[in-house]
């Protein structure tokens, strides 16, 4: 696109530089300028369409990855829910980046009950293999996405293997922190 633009401008300058009265007769330059203009717009249009498709595909991939964490996030949400508050919607769990930050703050301030810890630990164990299976999907997004996904998978593994309160709290903090970083990565 840039090439077409530059060549077009160069040809236009040449054409204007000629400055004779019969500039449009027996001259290939106007034809070439038209060709460059067509190229500029068509290539630009296709590039835009392609970029948008790529962005949509990547955002769908990221959403699939977030979807794999829905059960753990949902258990964390229930565990940290204030009295009489409504649990988060599935859409929030899958898409909302702010939600992870809120959970992190709540976890920092509050304390998980034993039953909730067990639920989170079991959810982590159930989802661990899926998370490993999704590493290639994360790699399709970018190397950074894959690195943070690996970090998330590692914290989920720690959660599933934790055998005391402190290690569950620590792993849950790590999990939310890594997920927050993963969400911040540009597509």
């Amino acid at each position: 696109m840039v090439l077409f633009g530059l060549v077009g401008i160069y040809l236009l300058m040449m054409f204007l530089g000629l400055g004779n009265e019969d500039a449009f007769e027996d001259n290939l330059l106007p034809e070439l300028i038209g060709f460059c203009l067509e190229g500029f717009f068509l290539v630009g249009l296709f590039s835009l369409i392609q970029r948008r498709n790529e962005r949509d595909r990547k955002s769908q991939l990221r959403q699939s990855l977030r979807g794999a964490l829905r059960e753990i996030l949902s258990h964390l949400d229930i565990a940290l829910l204030e009295e009489n508050a409504e649990p988060a919607k599935s859409e929030t769990l899958d898409k909302d980046q702010q939600f992870v930050r809120i959970l992190f703050v709540k976890l920092h301030k509050g304390e998980l009950s034993l039953d909730n810890m067990l639920n989170i630990k079991q959810a982590a164990a159930r989802n661990l293999s899926t998370m490993h299976d999704l590493i290639p999907v994360a790699a399709q997004l970018s190397a950074d996405h894959m690195r943070w996904w690996l970090a998330i998978a590692e914290s989920v593994r720690h959660l599933s293997e934790a055998t005391d309160k402190d290690s569950i709290n620590f792993s849950a903090h790590k999990f939310l922190k890594h997920l927050g970083e993963f969400d911040q990565l540009p597509l």
């Binding site: 829905r70 059960e71 949902s74 258990h75 229930i78 829910l81 009295e83 009489n84 508050a85 409504e86 649990p87 599935s90 009950s113 034993l114 039953d115 810890m117 067990l118 639920n119 630990k121 934790a162 055998t163 005391d164 309160k165 569950i168």
Partner: protein, 181 residues
Amino acid sequence: MTEKDYSQKAFLDFLRHAAVAGLISPATARSRKLAAEQLMVQLKTSERRDLRQLDVDELCSRFHKLQGSTIRPENIQLYNERLSSGLKDFICWTDEPVNFKSVEGEKPESIVVAARDTPGQAQAREELTLNPPRSPHDIFPVPIREDLVVYLQNIPLDMTRAEAEKIAAVVKALALPEEER
């Protein structure tokens, strides 16, 4: 004497009235109403007429079967608790409005019991919950010294002699050379 009304409509009216009259907090009433709205779509006609016949656990499993994944299982559990306590209050209030006392604020039995634990008991409870002992049938204790027992785990029932020798070889490789002992 008028017949007492235990219908679904009476329940929803009770939630509205209880919040206005200050019998329960408006936030509790709202959360119970939302739970009722979510779960009570699966009520049978007889249950709709008389909520005393309703088994909330059974309703939740029915809901899970029929509605599939419209609500996440962990949310259903939460709604179960809220609807159950709402129904308890409703039945108590309908039976004897004069002596009504809400269950709002009452903690589950498990939390009340856990709160009475000594530090040692709390530690044991934590260990049992988060790190339960494995089935004794798949762990073989091998006492090798007076104060030391080694455990073998995941031994298959159809283990061959060759496989047993393989394990023995690994264990032998871990031992210190004779001269060092």
